[in-house]
């Protein structure tokens, strides 16, 4: 199996080499080489900031298309919690969920319901965690979990080892569909309807488990126009869909998990730069006394996902309203739908020490000395014209053999 797989990719023909994505990338994973943006694979956390910022729509996430459903005999749609923010509040969400059946799916499992189930367990999980592990850090946003792997290895023990709602939904869906239809695993296609490139990556390169129960993912934006059209034109009886309660739906925005867990000492932070600052404070042990942190790469949380269509703040407002829906089941009833053993990770998360300059410490020091010297001789404009995001990163790239000093057009002009 390949070491890396990323959903985020480049439509090369659309890329103008403008450097917008390179400047925005939170892990400095992008370089512009020969006029095209290139991703350094080991650094990419699939947050999708580059997708959001690209003026030419050259960055996108690899997802499945509806014609891929034909490869499966029974097709299940798992709409992400943030779906609730994508339609005006006067829309009937049951009718919205019915559009999936018209698009070719045989069944719909609302991820918000799985979020309800996880919420029921999360309270005890936080209450029972050892104090040394706190603040506990949610792993709901896989981009944040991957950021921790790369940049905060000492915080790995703080992360919550519970599955994502989509994985729990997929597990349940697979069990129920197999029991109902008698079909084999490979005949059942379970597709996440998603806003998120990081979640897509987790299907193929899962965190905390060997194999995802999901088959693939369809981006919300790719089917949204058809859903709107179907919503208006569908006739006949609607199927009563199993849907999440307000608590589960609330996971679609920042603050939703903390609300679900019902604790006071929490921090809900959105936007990858601010998440980084909060994690820095945790790393400095300055947030003792905080029990729980939910961090999202996207501003507003999942409703701000790159593959959604609505403005993140409008979507967030809608989710806030729908999160007031009362509970459908008690915690005990929710827990009876899925055992705790069924929602926890089986594998330990390992750090990814990819920022190391060299395995050999002395060589690393040599390289660092060269980098510091080179950095001083660069103009310090961080213009990005060389194809590296900052002068510092150009110095690193030169020393690591990824770029040449002459790539600096400012220094070149001065000669």
């Amino acid at each position: 199996m390949k070491a890396y797989w990323h959903s985020v990719f480049l439509h090369k023909e659309k890329c103008t080499g403008c450097t917008n994505c390179m400047h925005k990338c939170p892990t400095q994973a992008i370089r512009v080489i020969d006029g095209k943006a290139k991703i350094i694979e080991e650094r990419c956390i699939d947050c999708g900031e580059c997708i959001k910022v690209c003026p030419f729509h050259a960055k996108d996430a690899k997802t499945d298309v509806l014609s891929d459903l034909a490869n499966y005999r029974y097709k299940v749609a798992l709409p992400a919690t943030s779906l609730y923010g994508q339609f005006p509040t006067e829309y009937d969400m049951n009718r919205v969920m019915n559009t999936f059946l018209r698009l070719g799916f045989d069944e719909v499992f609302d991820v918000s319901r799985a979020a309800d189930i996880i919420s029921a367990y999360l309270n005890d999980y936080v209450d029972n965690a050892e104090e040394e592990r706190k603040p506990l850090i949610s792993t709901y946003c896989p981009a944040v979990t991957r950021l921790i792997q790369i940049r905060y290895p000492s915080l790995i023990d703080n992360i919550i080892t519970i599955e994502s709602p989509s994985e729990v939904a997929a597990r349940q869906a697979r069990q129920l569909v197999k029991a109902k239809t008698g079909l084999k695993d490979e005949e059942i296609g379970i597709f996440l309807i998603t806003e998120c490139p990081a979640k897509v990556t987790s299907i193929y390169k899962p965190l905390g488990l060997d194999k995802s129960q999901m088959t693939g993912a369809v981006s919300l934006k790719s089917i949204y126009p058809r859903m709107l059209k179907l919503y208006d034109s569908m006739t006949g009886d609607m199927v009563d869909m199993q849907m999440g309660s307000g608590v589960g739906i609330g996971w679609g925005r920042v603050g939703g998990q903390s609300y679900a867990v019902d604790i006071d000492n929490y921090i809900a932070v959105d936007g990858i730069d601010e998440v980084t600052k909060v994690l820095d404070k945790v790393d400095l042990e300055m947030l003792r006394g905080v029990d729980f942190i939910e961090g999202y790469a996207c501003v507003t949380g999942c409703c701000g996902g790159p593959l959604n269509v609505e403005n993140p703040f409008i979507a967030k407002s809608r989710i806030r309203k729908q999160a007031k829906k009362p509970p459908i089941f008690s915690d005990e009833e929710l827990k009876s739908m899925c055992s705790f053993e069924n929602i926890v990770w089986t594998n330990k998360i390992e750090p990814h020490q990819i920022l190391k300059l060299d395995k050999d410490f002395k060589k690393a020091i040599e390289k660092m000395t060269k980098i510091e010297a080179l950095h001083k001789s660069l103009p310090g404009l961080d213009c990005g014209a060389c194809g590296s995001p900052t002068c510092r990163s150009l110095a690193e790239d030169v020393v690591l053999g990824r770029a040449k000093f002459e790539d600096c057009i400012v220094r070149k002009g001065a000669k």
Partner: protein, 140 residues
């Protein structure tokens, strides 16, 4: 062949917007050098506490970080009032911080004990009205 490195950061007095920069810069360098993450964390905490102390208690100072294959040393030297009774200053909970500083969430009297806890070797020297210097060594 160069086997050690030196980084210097000036820390101005009463400026919390700058305090923390030495710690995060050093952390970045150590991460790139591939040093154990537990040690990086201790260096970062010790440096951060030292920066905050310089900002609060002195008229400004300097953080120097030396890195060799065997150890990381953080030297924090300030120009300031100095410490009259070092033993007392090293006591957990002892603080001379003003209420203004305490309201910001600092000055709980845990700085020096915490720095000592993070270091393998901890030396403190001070001359009243002149300076305080901390030398914190962590072995790799």
């Amino acid at each position: 062949m160069q086997e050690s490195m030196k980084y210097e950061f000036s820390v101005p007095t009463m400026d919390f917007t700058v305090a923390g920069e030495a710690s995060s810069s050093i952390k970045k360098v150590l991460r790139q050098l591939g040093i154990d993450s537990g040690i990086i964390r201790r260096v970062a905490i010790a440096t951060y506490e030292a920066e905050i102390n310089i900002a609060i208690h002195s008229n400004g100072g300097k953080i120097t970080c030396l890195i060799s294959p065997e150890w990381v040393k953080v030297i924090a030297k300030d120009n300031g009032p100095g410490i009259e009774n070092i033993e007392l200053a090293m006591t957990k909970g002892f603080s001379t911080a003003t209420s203004e500083i305490r309201e910001l969430g600092f000055g709980a009297g845990m700085g020096l004990p915490n720095m000592k806890k993070c270091s393998d070797d901890f030396e403190i020297t001070s001359e009243v009205d002149v300076f305080t210097q901390l030398v914190m060594t962590l072995y790799l």
